[in-house]
């Protein structure tokens, strides 16, 4: 009989405090080597903080970290690296202007030096190929799709001889097919003996990939690591949100959250509510090609009040340009856009927002928030822009209004002077929602509104969008998550290569929607 193997990573009573905020309290957890471990929990539960402690980016207030049975000095990236712990961040941190080969070289050695492009490319080619990352090594990071960037981050971590690889919400930025690819990569790493810790939100994903699961809530470990065979989706959902909240979810929400329902979406089917003239009416809109995405090619789109229209499509088929065109941030080549009865084709965004356009943008940390500014400034930007720039404001009054609004949206924060960058990912998203989903909203563009949100917050956002819809707002929902689209859309429009490639009504048939997403020939309408 042999001793059980030493845990790959063990946290012993780790506590982390940021000022008055306790992000982790007395977390004791140990991860067996060579397995895939999932860490789950609500927004602000402390998952990222846990990962940052293991990677040496955060110095715990108390407690110790062992890697392979050896205690490491906490709070030093170099120590964690030397012990073989690598972290791939929630929002990637690759230098956008570097080429792939340069990124690999610099990421791996941390040193500068004199190289030729060619020698670097040769050096890293085989390494990336081993992970099935197909990429030209002389391309720049900023020109690469997100899943490739992620592959490079993982590859970079592996060059460092990672024995413990932590991925912080790797699936949040990926389309369903890329998620499958990521999971295949992760399984291959497991075969190589690497211990992988995945921070995830979706229960379906946890059950699909992990060997064990650990649940954090409010900075404490609730349970885990539990062998995956011993937990059901139901039980996991309850562990994450806590029994008290779990009881308040209705069956419909629960099914959607757990993500184990049948592939035929029932849809919201509220089309009878949608009446009156269109809030958004796009006629044959084409945009000039630019570097930011596939151009629109004569898109017609109408959304009436009281209707949620979902946009389905493989990422990069013009969804971003669609949002930018409606927001006056992309140049139109032809066509017209009407908003609530007004022709706004040549109007700037400010005018469109004044009519009731609201935007939850794709890039939360860039387009949605200024991370180094305070919460109240971020929250108030939209209102401050309505009206004269030189009018006097009372910051204390603005902050009170902000506090009220953030409370309504149950954002977990300390005070409104706090920087937006200090919120957990999900709470940051809620700040944007609090700003954009108000009573005057006529058309709400929600681009990936639940990306990175925990299941409770996701349900919350869906409810908010439905309520806005029931108030008579029109909603354009763009999501790479088909379950989400099917669950709350009244109508689904598929985009392919910058064109509208089919329109579907509930009940949605996943097979025909899927076909329209990939095949230009399959034009369907129900």
């Amino acid at each position: 009989m042999s001793n059980p193997p030493k845990p790959a990573l063990e946290c012993r009573d780790v506590t982390v405090k940021f000022g008055d905020v306790t992000a982790l309290s007395d977390v004791a957890v140990s991860f067996a080597p060579g397995q895939i471990h999932a860490v789950v929990g609500q927004n602000g539960a402390g998952k990222t903080t846990f990962a940052r402690v293991a990677a040496g980016l955060v110095q715990p207030t108390a407690g110790a970290v062992d890697v392979m049975g050896e205690e490491i000095r906490t709070g030093h990236v170099s120590q964690s690296r030397a012990a073989g712990v690598e972290l791939v961040h929630q929002s990637f941190a690759l230098p956008p202007s570097f080429t792939v080969a340069e990124t690999m070289e610099f990421g791996a050695t941390g040193k500068g030096g004199i190289y030729s492009r060619k020698s670097l490319a040769e050096k890293w080619q085989s390494h990336l190929a081993g992970l099935d990352v197909q990429v030209d090594l002389n391309r720049r990071i900023r020109d690469l799709p997100i899943e490739t960037q992620q592959g490079i981050e993982i590859a970079r971590a592996l060059v460092m001889d990672a024995r413990v690889l932590i991925l912080d919400e790797p699936t949040a930025v990926l389309s369903p097919s890329s998620i499958d690819m990521l999971f295949a990569r992760v399984r291959r790493l497991k075969e190589r003996g690497v211990t992988v810790i995945l921070i995830l939100h979706k229960i379906r994903e946890v059950l699909g990939i992990a060997d064990t699961v650990t649940v954090l809530r409010g900075g404490r470990k609730v349970e885990g690591p539990l062998p995956i065979a011993e937990v059901s989706a139901e039980r996991l959902a309850n562990l994450i949100v806590g029994d008290a909240i779990a009881k308040t979810l209705d069956r419909h929400e629960r099914d959607a959250l757990v993500g184990t329902k049948s592939p035929v979406g029932e849809g919201a089917g509220h089309l009878e509510n949608a009446k009156g003239p269109s809030v958004l009416s796009m006629k044959a809109v084409s945009t000039r090609p630019d570097s930011e995405g596939t151009a629109l090619d004569s898109v017609d789109l109408d959304i009436r009040p009281g209707e949620i229209v979902g946009i389905a499509g493989v990422e990069g088929n013009g969804q971003k340009t669609l949002v930018r065109a409606i927001s006056a941030l992309a140049d139109l080549a032809s066509g017209s856009i009407r908003l609530a009865g007004n022709d706004v084709t040549g109007e700037p965004l400010a005018a469109r927002r004044a009519i009731g356009l609201r935007i939850i943008p794709f890039e939360r940390n860039v387009e949605g928030l200024s991370l180094t500014s305070s919460l109240w400034q971020n929250w108030s930007a939209r209102e401050l822009l309505q009206g004269r720039l030189l009018r006097l404001i009372r910051p204390s009054a603005v902050r009170e209004a902000c506090d009220r609004s953030l409370k309504d949206w149950s954002v977990h924060y300390h005070n409104s002077a706090q920087k937006a960058g200090s919120l957990s990912g999900g709470n940051a998203q809620k700040v944007i929602l609090a700003r954009e989903v108000d009573r005057e909203a006529r058309l709400i563009i929600a681009a990936q509104p639940t990306r990175g949100l925990d299941i409770g917050a996701t349900a919350f956002v869906w409810q908010a969008l439905r309520q806005a819809r029931d108030r008579g707002a029109a909603i354009l929902l763009i999501s790479s998550d088909l379950d989400e689209l099917f669950d709350i859309s009244d109508r689904v429009v598929v985009m392919l290569s910058g064109q509208v490639n089919g329109e579907f009504r509930a009940p949605f048939d996943i097979a025909s929607v899927g076909a329209a997403m990939t095949d230009a020939a399959a034009r369907t309408s129900a």
């Binding site: 935007i359 500014s373 930007a381 822009l385 720039l389 030189l390």
Partner: protein, 345 residues
């Protein structure tokens, strides 16, 4: 509130470090460090009349520095305060020629306004270049400083030349005494009133208007403000123009007040000291006032160093440079020592 207090304390610690470093340098260079520090303190604030002298330097510096802070907040690194200061003074000097003989109560405001317009003009073109075609404003405004310096040489030895000048330094014809806003000591109720008005207005602008909040957001993340529907160039250009106008106003005050004329190459470090002040103050208006008094004190002490401590007046430049060094090298160490909290970013 706690935030701004922390900032001030933090800055003061940096300044103290800088002074200690300077003292060490001078000690090794063979001077007596304690005598030097004492001479600085004495010359700046303790000697009788020192406060007035310090304020004489502090007020124009404050005006320019507030403007610098406004453009930095909006995310534009306008380092052209020196040039805008010069062009402001030059425009005021031309206006003085043009309005000669008019009643003082009209001419004085007209000159002040011309100076502000001149400074704004010297900020306008780098602003437009930056916002319309993305030209780096650091380069254009720096270039603008040299151009303005040469322009000053030209006007003082050409169109505005004082024929009776001694010839050592080209300078303009003196301003009529009726239009002077202070004697050569340089502190007068008018100047104090102008500085106070600038301070109050700019404090309101930064802290109590929609513009202030939005400009600061735009400075930190322009894309986000664009997605809110703001016209970035409007926020950016106004900030640029305000900073230019204030530097121009400071130049005009120097012209109409203590100097009474413009001379080629006068006050060559004004704009850069103002940038330093804005940075020490972390761009807050109140902090700028405090820092301006401090640096005004140093400027006035510079005149006493040779007498009191046998040091060259340039010692003050070394002190300024040392402070700049410590302020710009944002030290994590200090934060850690003082446990100011927050995540190290």
């Amino acid at each position: 509130m706690k935030d701004s207090l922390t900032t001030v304390v933090r800055s003061l610690i940096f300044v103290a470090f800088a002074l200690i470093l300077c003292a060490l340098v001078f000690q090794f260079a063979g001077y007596n460090a304690l005598t030097m520090l004492w001479a600085v303190a004495d010359g700046a604030f303790l000697r009788s009349g020192a406060i007035e002298q310090s304020l004489r330097w502090a007020l124009p510096l404050f005006i320019t520095a507030v403007g610098v802070g406004i453009s930095f907040r909006a995310g534009f690194f306008n380092i052209g305060a020196q040039g805008q200061f010069y062009v402001g003074a030059i425009c005021a000097a031309f206006a003085a020629e043009a309005f000669k003989g008019g009643p003082a109560f009209l001419v004085i405001p007209a000159l002040l306004i011309s100076g502000m317009l001149g400074g704004a003009l010297w900020a306008l073109w780098p602003g437009l270049l930056r916002l319309r075609s993305g030209t780096d404003e650091v380069i254009t405004t720096l270039m603008g400083n040299f151009m303005a310096g040469l322009l000053l040489v030209y006007v003082t030895s050409g169109p505005l030349k004082d024929p009776s000048g001694s010839g050592q330094q080209a300078s303009s014809r003196p301003l009529d005494a009726a239009y002077r806003i202070s004697d050569s000591l340089g502190l007068s109720p008018t100047i104090i009133a102008i500085a106070a008005a600038v301070g109050i207005l700019m404090w309101l602008l930064v802290n109590r208007t929609a513009f202030g909040v939005l400009a600061s957001l735009a400075g930190r993340n322009g894309t986000m403000v664009e997605w809110q529907g703001a016209r970035l160039w409007k926020l950016g250009l106004s900030s640029f123009l305000i900073s230019g106008a204030l530097a121009g106003l400071a130049g005009t005050i120097e012209f109409m007040g203590p100097n009474g004329r413009i001379a080629s190459g006068f006050l060559p470090a004004h704009g850069f000291t103002a940038i330093l002040i804005a940075l020490v103050a972390n761009l807050s208006v109140l902090g700028t006032a405090a820092a301006a008094v401090f640096f005004g004190g140093l400027a006035s002490a510079a005149l006493y160093l040779p007498i009191m401590a046998g040091l060259p007046a340039a010692a003050i430049d070394i002190i300024n440079a040392a402070i700049a060094l410590f302020i710009t090298a944002r030290s994590k160490l200090v934060d850690r020592v003082l446990r100011f909290g927050g995540r190290p970013s």
